[in-house]
């Protein structure tokens, strides 16, 4: 096991990883920007280092500053959390070159899965279901139109090096294709410094189902079942649950087993998630792979009883999977997570400001993950996540009721927040019936306005 690990992140995930390190008896190093100097989780760390000004590129994306902390603290591991530098293979290589372990998969996996069309090719090559799509588009209008025709409209234009739904444009007719490709390429260039785009079949009203996996350094891989993350706004997840509502075990069980088998065959070697779309016809298709801990890992932890962060750390330190995970993992009950954001609940615009009141619910069966406390300032520099509220109960109905109650009891004043929107979705007939799809949130909220 590690002697000391740097947590190169902030907010709820920094708190979560610091807690896991404490549980493993590993010394921890927290880093913070000017904006986070009074963050509550810094108290959990054995050591803390200031790494720069509030803007992320000067602090949490500042590779040199973080590598300097690694050097002066004599840490032998670095956990990147999610977001920021977690999927930057060059940074992972620099951590290794500095003589420390990057707590994540080997850099070659981060690189291979970071490029969407290469990841699709890999998935297809190993026999995972992949929807119709193209490679990176060349600047050849007739060829583009032919490709879209072959896939069949509607198609989706997507950045190859992107993420988070940025730069994705749906195209319903041939004459919309060229302008959409141009716009997507320019957004991709700006957002990801890579203007490559490609086409994919647009699955309408799909479900977003993902499979959690854990591999070890010897290439053994197991899955920890699925999560459903269909409830989204602006292509970003807001409610996640495990297991997926209404999914036939006879379908999702073999799918998860297949995913683990494929990643094992590839030699995948740490935590990861395969994201898939499920069409109205029940067909699954590979969407992408995230080579890191997910924001929604907590629902899997609740139903499986496995501490995924501790497991990830132990795997990175070289422990074999057989020692890390129990021989038999069986999901128990149902867990749902709601992401509480500092944003306008109607238009989803960000709402930074002071947390005059911040009193999370303390109900039984409720787990709370946050990087904030009352009195702190929510700055415009980072994403708007205030807290993750996770309910675990014997049934989905009970989990919905428990989560709704907890959200209603969450007292937040000083910033606008999306709690009313979350409650409305949880209480909607569609959600309660389990008829989730990626358009559900906007449909339910549009009806309420």
């Amino acid at each position: 096991m590690f002697h000391k690990v740097v947590v190169a992140n902030r907010g709820a995930v920094a708190a979560r990883v610091l807690r896991a390190l404490d549980g493993l008896g590993v010394r921890s190093v927290a880093v913070y920007s000017d904006a986070d100097a009074d963050a509550p989780y810094l108290e959990l760390a054995s050591e803390t280092y200031h790494i720069g000004a509030a803007p992320a590129r000067e602090s949490y994306l500042n590779e040199d500053a973080i590598l300097e902390v690694l050097r002066v603290s004599h840490a032998d591991g670095l956990h990147p959390g999610y977001g920021f530098l977690s999927e930057n293979h060059r940074f992972a290589e620099r951590v290794q070159a500095a003589g420390a372990c990057f707590v994540g998969p080997s850099p070659r996996w981060i690189e291979a899965m970071g490029h969407k069309t290469r990841a699709r090719d890999l998935a297809a090559q190993y026999g995972l279901p992949v929807g119709r799509g193209t490679g990176v588009l060349l600047k050849d209008a007739p060829a583009m139109l032919r490709a879209a025709d072959e896939i069949g409209y509607p198609v989706l234009v997507k950045p190859a090096a992107g993420g988070g739904g940025i730069g994705m444009i749906a195209v319903h007719k041939p004459e919309e294709l060229a302008p959409a490709v141009e716009r997507a390429a320019s957004m991709a260039e700006r957002g990801f410094a890579n203007g490559e785009v490609y086409l994919e079949r647009l699955v309408e009203r799909p479900r977003h189902v993902e499979i959690q996996v854990l591999g070890d350094r010897a290439g053994a891989v197991r899955h920890l079942f699925e999560r459903d993350c269909s409830v989204q706004r602006r292509h970003q997840k807001i409610i996640e649950e495990a297991p997926g509502p209404g999914l036939a075990r006879a379908v999702v069980g073999p799918l998860a087993a297949d995913v683990a088998r494929v990643l094992g065959a590839m030699g995948y070697d740490n935590i990861g998630t395969i994201e898939m779309l499920m069409g109205a016809d029940g067909e699954f298709s590979f969407l992408e792979m995230n080579t890191r801990l997910q924001v929604e890992h907590g629902v899997t932890e609740e139903v499986t009883g496995v501490d995924l962060v501790a497991a990830q750390l132990r795997s990175a330190a070289g422990e074999p999977l057989a020692e890390i995970l129990p021989e038999r993992i069986a999901p128990e009950g149902h867990a749902i997570q709601a992401r509480v954001y500092a944003e306008d609940p109607k238009r989803f615009f960000p709402s930074p400001g002071p947390l005059h009141v911040f009193r999370p619910p303390q109900d039984d069966g409720i787990r709370l993950e946050t990087g904030y406390r009352e009195g702190q300032q929510v700055t415009p520099h980072y994403d708007p996540l205030l807290a993750k509220v996770i309910a675990h109960a014997p049934t989905r109905e009970a989990a919905i009721a428990r989560l709704t109650g907890a959200l209603r009891g969450f007292d937040i004043q000083g910033v606008k927040h999306n709690v009313p929107a979350l409650v409305r979705i949880l209480q909607s007939a569609e959600f309660q019936d389990g008829g989730v799809h990626t358009g559900l949130a906007s449909e339910v909220l549009a009806r309420a306005q």
């Binding site: 500092a342 944003e343 615009f349 960000p350 415009p380 980072y382 708007p384």
Partner: protein, 74 residues
């Protein structure tokens, strides 16, 4: 001739000013883009008009409802 202020809808900082003083904008055109919490939110010239004054520059922190440009409509 009447003037009005284009205002930022969110607290954040100016990411990019996309118009110039003297430029004529159509109703709904973008005046500038504010960055906040990893989102880009445009400031819109609701009624169009000629840009008379730009009150901020790239990187300026702005608060919700702060005027960022003055436009003149006929």
């Amino acid at each position: 001739m009447a003037t009005y202020e284009a205002r930022s809808e969110v607290t954040g900082s100016v990411w990019k000013v996309v118009c110039e003083v003297g430029q004529r904008l159509e109703p709904g055109d973008t005046v500038m883009i504010i960055e906040s919490m990893k989102m880009e939110i445009p400031v819109i010239a609701e009624d169009g008009g000629v840009v008379k004054q730009i009150l901020v520059e790239k990187g300026t922190p702005v608060t919700e409802n702060q005027p960022v440009a003055i436009l003149e409509v006929e």
